[in-house]
Structures are given as C-alpha cells and as structure tokens.
Symmetry: C2
Subunit: 391 residues, 2 copies
C-alpha cells in the first residue's frame, strides 16, 4: 500500500426531500448572495429550480443565475460565470444539476479568486489554492463531482477537454442528494451515468500497486452492487432503493476513498475525453466504448488484474483456464452488460461512423503526454491500436 492523503470534507445530505434543506445549508456555509448554476430544461419542467428559488427567497438569500450549461461543459460559460460573480459580489456558488453543472461551478469558483486566466489551472500552469465555496443539489448520478475536488472543462477554441484535480480546494462544502430527483432521468442517461461511475472505480482498480486487498475488495463490492442495481433500474426506473444505491455509489466511486494507497490508471478517461471533445457524445457512453477495448489491449501485456476482475466481479470460474482466457470472458461479460443497459460498445453504435483516429491520437498525446496510464503505459502506437479496437 502506498502512502496517501485522504481529505473529503463535503457534507452529504442524502434522501427524500433533502433539497428542502438547501437554504439552511447555504446559510450554514456563509452564503448570502449566491450564483445559481444550472443546465437546461429538466429542472424547469420538474419544478426543482422553482422550489429551490422559493426556499432561497424565504431565507432572504439573494441570487444571480447562470443557466444553459451543456454536457461536456465549455470554458465560455466559465468566463461568463467568473464575470458575473465579480460583478455581483457572489459569496457562494450553488450548482443544481449533474457533473457538467458542478464542474462549471467549480471552475468558476477557482477562477473568481485568481487574477490570471482560469485555464492556467487546467493546463497545470498554476495550482488553485483558494476558491469560492460551492454547494450542490445533485440531479444526475454519474460524474461523482458532488464529492470530488475535480473539474473537467472543454475549451471551445481548441476543443481541448482537460481535467483539474485538487485534493481538497474544489470539493463542494455540501451536496444535497435526493434519489427521487433522478426518477425522470431517461434510460440512456441513467445508463451512461452508471458506466461513468463504474469507470471511476475501474480506473482505480486496475493498478499494479501491491498489498491493496482492502481497496480491491471495496471496488469489487461496489461494482457488483452497481451492476445488480442497474439491471433492477432498467426494469423499474422509479425504484427508490435502486436509485438511492446508484446515487450514493456514484459518490463513493469518485470521492477518492477507493484510490487510497494505490496508483491509479485513467488512460481510458483520457482516451474518452478526445472522443467527446471531437464528437460531443455523452461521456459515459464514450467510456462504454473505450473500456472494453482498453481492457482487451492491456490484458495482452498485463493480465493479472483483468483476470482478477473477471473472477471477482463477473463470477468467471477460473478452473482449468489460463488468465488470458479468464480475462477475455470477463470482458465479454462486461460487454453483454453494457448492451443490456442500452450502451454502445463500438464507434458506430456511438453514432460515429468514420472516427478520425489519427486526430484523436495526436490530440490525446499533445494534451496528456507521450505515455498515458499507469496499469500499462500507452504510447501513440498503443492508443492507435486501442481506438481501432473500438471500430
């Protein structure tokens, strides 16, 4: 087990009607004049935004608004938000939505208190040391941004999709999580969210660090529960227990606890970022295409952990088989599951008929360096082959 620091200071308020506590929580964390950040139609239709604004009004909390945040959120909205915060002297940002909305709120929160261009942080030129406080009302369980110190933003001009990871500075001060708010999430987005959280676990799980049975075992448990609950949700989208499990699992998948003491991988995420940057697909759907291809490729060179995953997560029986065969069966079962929940596993199923693989490989290594990932370091030749496996 490696040395580590783990710091997760977010207050999670979870359950039915938890959004009714929004004004109390905003006040508790010093918000009196806040910025509301949100996305598109669903929170209007569901009345959620109205309910939140009513609560804020009743508590004499004033607010400005920044709406229309889209999936794969853009830097342009961040600049707009930073300007708004400065102009309106905002003291806390409340994100109402999923990962894109929360990531935008975090980037704004860091940018407001920085004299330079907030993009410096995403390019790794500077490390954020302070930020406005961010609170969350979560509506899409997927990205885990409600419990992480991370943010992923795409720069419109260059289509660079980069991530910022901070140990603690950007963690939300509170996250309100009501599983009932996810009842109306379409099946496709529910499934994409599920793949995203599974990917967050697998990026940590596939590691060469020794003596990590504790976190291995927690990862495997969480994956198995997510798989089971995903199938239950497919049949019954308003099953509270299943929605609640999926929602909390998404947070635990990405708040860092599963990565304690181990090297993580993240090559699949970086490869997917190039797909969604170029083609605007849902991140989780992109990961459904990347992960089996990545696993098939790396298993040829470093099979142990993929075989362990096949046995422990997908119940592949090991008797008499070599590890490559076991790994292959595990990957096949992952694909069956992905199809079962309506996810693509090829470029064409993702709606990309002629993927520009050369361009993605070029941009990937420009953005992330010559070698990406840790379970197996991948150079441009490797990633080219892996993208080709997705055809």
């Amino acid at each position: 087990m490696n040395n580590f620091t783990f710091y997760s200071p977010t207050e999670f308020v979870f359950g039915k009607d938890s959004e009714l506590q929004v004004a109390d929580l905003v006040k508790k964390y010093g918000g009196s004049n806040i910025l509301l950040v949100f996305g598109g139609g669903s929170i209007f239709k569901s009345g959620l935004l109205d309910r939140i604004e009513n609560k804020l009004d009743s508590a004499n909390i004033t607010y400005s608004r920044l709406g229309g945040i889209q999936p794969n959120p853009l830097d342009t909205k961040v600049y707009q938000g930073i300007e708004l915060c400065r102009k309106d002297k905002i003291d806390l940002i409340l994100a109402v939505g999923g990962g894109s909305v929360i990531d935008t709120a975090k980037a704004i929160a860091a940018g407001v208190l920085y004299e330079g261009d907030f993009w410096d942080y995403f390019e790794g030129k500077e490390i954020p040391k302070k930020a406005l406080k961010v609170g969350v009302v979560l509506t899409i369980p997927a990205a885990g941004s409600e419990g992480s110190g991370n943010s992923v933003i795409t720069k419109v001009q260059t289509l660079q999709k980069l991530s910022l990871r901070t140990p603690g500075v950007l963690r939300p001060v509170f996250s309100i999580m009501n599983p009932e708010l996810t009842y109306t999430l379409p099946a496709y987005h529910t499934a994409a969210g599920i793949v995203d959280m599974m990917a967050h676990i697998m990026e940590r799980y596939f590691s060469n660090t020794k003596e990590v049975e504790l976190t291995d075992s927690l990862c495997e448990s969480l994956l198995k529960v997510i798989i089971k609950e995903a199938l239950r949700l497919k049949e019954d989208p308003t099953n509270y227990g299943a929605r609640a499990s999926i929602m909390w699992a998404g947070t635990l998948a990405h708040n860092g606890i599963l990565g304690t003491g181990r090297e993580e991988d993240w090559a699949s995420h970086f490869m997917e970022h190039e797909i969604s940057a170029l083609y605007g697909v849902a991140h989780g759907a992109g990961l459904a295409v990347v992960f089996p291809a990545w696993m098939s490729y790396v298993a040829r060179h470093n099979v142990d952990k993929i075989a362990q995953y096949a046995i422990r997560v997908w119940d592949v029986t090991p008797n008499g088989k070599d590890k490559h065969e076991i790994a292959k069966q595990g990957i096949a079962l992952l694909k069956v599951f992905l199809k079962e929940i309506g996810m693509p596993t090829t470029f064409s199923e993702l709606g990309i008929d002629q993927p520009n693989i050369d361009e993605m490989v070029k941009r990937l290594h420009q953005n992330m360096g010559e070698s990406i990932g840790n379970y197996l370091g991948l150079n441009a030749k490797d990633t080219q082959k892996i993208y080709n496996l997705m055809k």
Copy 2:
C-alpha cells in the same frame, strides 16, 4: 435506505514516516501553542514522543503536556486537561496514542469551550456546538476515534462509562497514521483492536433497514479483509501490508460511511461498556466475549441478518440448512477465529471468575434506558440472559 447526513472532514495523512509532517499539519490547522495528550510507556520507549516534540520545537510550536492516559479513560484526566488548556491558552490539542488518548483529547476539546461541566455532554443534557481543534498521531488501530466524532469516557466516582456522539464537531482536523508505529503493539492488543473494529462494522451491519445492499456489501468486504489480515499479522507482526490494511480498515469501520442510510444497533457495545467499567478489561477483549453471545441470543428472534453474515462473511454453505443452523455455524466460526487470534470468548477467559451480572444489568439499563439496541430491542430480562451466555 434511510435518509442520512454524512460529514467526515478529517484530513488523513497515511503511510511511512507520515509523523514527520506533524508540525506542518499543526500549523496548517492554526495550532501555535498546543496541548500534547498521550498515554504510558510505549511512546517514550519507541522515541515517538521525542521525535514529535523535536518537530514541534523546530517549528516554534510551544506545547504543554498531559500524559498517563489509561485504557478506559477517566473523567479526572479530562478535568485536568480542561484546566491546563485554560491556564495555558491552548489553541489545538494533539493526541498521540490510541482511542483512549484521542477520546480524552476530544472531551477536553469540547469541555474547554463550555461553561458547565463537560459531563453534561456525555449524559446528553447538552449538545456540543464547538470545540478546540484536535489533531491525532495514531499508534493503536482499534477504536476508530481518529476518524469519528465520538468519545467514550468513564466517570471515576460512579463508574459510568458513557459515549458522546457528534456528527462533526469532534472529528479530528487531521489524523497521522503510520502503520510502522504499530509493529511493536503486543499480539493481545493487536487482536483486541481488530475485534473492536470488527464490532464497529457489525454494530452497523446488524440492521433491519431494507434496501441496504450497498453498505451491507462494503461491511462484508471489510470484515473479510480484516479477518484475512488478522491471521497474516499473527504469523508476521511486522508485515507492512497487513498492518496498513488493519490500520485503514479501523478508520473506515468507524468514520460513519458504513452506517450511511441504515439504522445501527450498538447493544453489544453498551453491554461491553458495563464489563470494562466494572472490571477494567480491554474493550476489544470484552467485545470478543459479548458479540458471539449477543448474536446467539438475537438469532433466536431475528435470524435473517445473522444468517446472511454467516454465509457472506464466514462462507457457510447454505444448501439444505435452515437459517438458524446457518447462523449457528457462522457464530461458531467467529468464535474459532477469536480464539485463533488469542481473544477470550467467556467471562472466565476474560479473567472474570464471578461476574456480577445483576449489577451489570442494573447499571446498563440505568445508563442506557429500558430497551437497548435496534436489531432486536433488549430489556433487562434479555440482557441478563445474554450476560449469562458469556459464562
């Protein structure tokens, strides 16, 4: 799954040499003139206290000292600490030790900022809203106090052993955890610590709350890893991987994550508190005696979760057996394990030849109310029978 709030704002700094960061962390959290709280001989012998004081000296952090904290820590030391803090204008308390030392530091931290008697908090007459900051250098993995908001103190005059549970106020601001510091822990105390952390998981696991597969599964994983690592440690007490797993498992067992969304039990802890209050035994050893007896008794009335535990944690094969039989086998395997790691499973093995059961039952219900526990509510007749099973 029930509604819940989860808030765990402690910064955990884990791994080899992590204690070298003590002065940086004290400063980071605003400590400049601190109280060092510690126990007996081992931290002198190992040179740990010296090393910490040297680090503090080099950083110009001044400190007062309160040593000699004993297992089952006493209110008298808390009063002494409160006085010291007020006299010396202490701004942070650094606990160097295990659960007793940390619990004492927390009680002092709450008491300093309270005008009344700190014991009011433990009797539930008042709820602490503020406290001095507490930092930790952990030397005994067991109580989980390094990551919890709880404290357990015994009142000398009345031998009441009461616990205080706060959602966040008393959580340490940082906890330094170096598994190497536990290499010299005697086998008996290592084992007692392991039972304590297993008990913290089981108090949460045995619950009637429905739809908690997520946390059930995390509990089971953690228990299985602890059991495996305990046996490895028995053979090889300086195995870093095993020490590290046990140390981190002890924190996860009790920082609240495993209890999210579920009713917890705690009857076994309350029953043990009466044993250690009267007979001064190690808390973990006491729990080794209580838990199998409690499980045998409650299984007669509410068998489901005990049977699930037997199957999933102890790999009891269910085929053809009724749940009571399965539960029985699980409990028997727990006892075999406890004996294997050198723990007692009866009063006499605990060194108590003539337990005053009537007195324990009387005090238990005086302290904790007519009915204790949630998995099965236990009145005085029930607890009398359970204590008798420990003979």
